[in-house]
């Protein structure tokens, strides 16, 4: 596994949302705006890097029969530690991200990476894998959030300065002034709609690409989503 392959897998080929269809619970729940998607993505990225490194470094001691409970205990502990320390020492950030952090435990993409990559790779490679998988997740969530926000409320990155600090207030754009909003886009069903459209787009893109380079290699099978 080299750097190029890991980054490509994380960002596109094995993208958690668009290819593996994992982590559907946070994907549907928090992508009501671009800012929320970004916040959830960044928090998940941090946890993914840490959990991948932790699991990679103990992988020699974990017996295959009990690996899943061991991983779950480790991930849940890690998320709780992050939750508590943010609450205590970075409380302003916690007020914004607090909602997302508890949800990360139920994101089976974290367990998925532990199982599929970190349990059989070195610490550095696992950290990189966590980073790029997280960034791919962040990008997908942000795009879904932006689409829903634009159609649902007519804005882009509303309240980004609450998440990223006042310096990022320039991101907040009111695209459609006096727009009444389309409520459905902010409610959960639109999460499925937008995700479905993005998956279809991705598929279209891949079919086009495959048609150009003749003997097409099979698209990696999507892992069945659990949330």
């Amino acid at each position: 596994m080299n750097f190029r392959e890991i980054s490509r897998n994380g960002l596109w080929d094995q993208n958690i949302v668009l290819s593996q269809i994992l982590g559907m619970c946070p994907t549907m729940a928090v992508t009501t705006s671009g800012t929320n998607g970004l916040g959830m993505g960044l928090a998940t990225t941090a946890v993914l890097v840490c959990s991948n490194m932790l699991i990679s470094s103990v992988r020699a001691f974990v017996s295959p029969q009990v690996r899943i409970p061991v991983y779950i205990v480790l991930i849940a502990t890690l998320v709780t530690l992050v939750d508590m320390s943010l609450n205590a020492w970075m409380h302003d950030l916690y007020r914004v991200l607090g909602l997302f952090i508890a949800l990360i435990v139920v994101n089976c993409a974290v367990l998925g990476r532990a199982e599929a990559f970190a349990s059989r790779s070195g610490v550095l490679a696992s950290a990189l894998d966590g980073l790029f998988m997280g960034l791919g997740f962040t990008a997908s969530l942000t795009v879904i959030g932006l689409i829903r926000e634009l159609i649902g409320a007519g804005t882009l990155f509303a309240q980004a300065s609450l998440l990223l600090g006042p310096a990022f207030a320039f991101l907040e754009i009111k695209v459609l002034p006096n727009y009444g909003g389309m409520l459905m886009m902010i409610l959960p069903p639109a999460g499925f709609l937008v995700l479905g459209l993005l998956l279809a787009l991705r598929r279209l893109f891949e079919l086009r690409a495959a048609a150009r380079t003749t003997p097409a290699t099979a698209v990696p099978d999507a892992v069945a989503g659990c949330h």
Binding site: T32, S63, Q65
Partner: protein, 212 residues
């Protein structure tokens, strides 16, 4: 490595290793909990302080509201904590307490600040799970709606008009969301009624009564 691989295949290794992992995790959580407890308590205290200050005009209270509380048993539910604001001379000039109403999706918790006569100085929603983009206009960060409460009291507007416009009252509802503002208006009105019913107890300053 090979001895480790041999050990790993033994039946006893599995429960023991899982047990060790669980114990170490538990230990880490205990240590982290102990280490973060004072920080979290201080941060929550600051949050409470900030919320309390938001429902009172700036410079209204000269005391530390968090330290000047009284428990008042209401008609239903557990006793409420009432925070009391004092002037520089030490007289009670206002109170802050939490009310809650049942919104579209669970309870809405609202902090209201009153002056001595039961007139609203301000209200802030501190916790809710209303629909984003629809019911969440009750948050002061998203809309100025909640500011309409300032200056209102039980007699102004008259009790019949303590409702959203759809129900013949004076408060705006949101397009497509009536349940949420209705719940907030009702909760605030109940808070005012609570204050009116317990005013003597809340404003009573003798230390023996205040710890009831």
């Amino acid at each position: 490595m090979s001895t480790l691989a041999l050990w790993r295949d033994k039946l006893a290794y599995q429960p023991v290793s899982l047990g060790i992992v669980a114990m170490l995790s538990g230990l880490a959580l205990v240590v982290a909990n102990t280490a973060t407890l004072p920080g979290i308590a201080a941060a929550e205290q600051r949050d409470l302080q900030t919320s309390l200050e938001q429902v009172l005009p700036s410079g209204f209270a000269s005391n530390d509201l968090v330290r000047d509380t009284i428990l008042v048993s209401g008609g239903d539910g557990p006793p409420r904590t009432v925070y009391r604001a004092r002037t520089a001379a030490g007289a009670i000039c206002g109170t802050v307490f939490q009310v809650s109403g049942r919104g579209y999706a669970g309870d809405i918790n609202i902090l209201i600040g009153l002056d001595r006569d039961g007139r609203l100085l301000g209200a802030r929603v501190i916790k809710h799970q209303e629909t984003p983009g629809l019911g969440d206009k009750i948050e002061s960060a998203k809309s100025r709606w909640i500011d309409d409460f300032a200056g209102k009291s039980l007699s102004s507007p008259p009790p019949a008009q303590w409702a959203v416009k759809k129900d013949g009252g004076v408060f705006d509802q949101f397009a497509g969301a009536t349940i949420t503002p209705r719940a907030v208006v009702k909760a605030v009105r109940q808070g005012l009624e609570f204050y009116a019913a317990h005013r003597a107890e809340i404003l009573n300053d003798s230390p023996k009564e205040s710890t009831r």
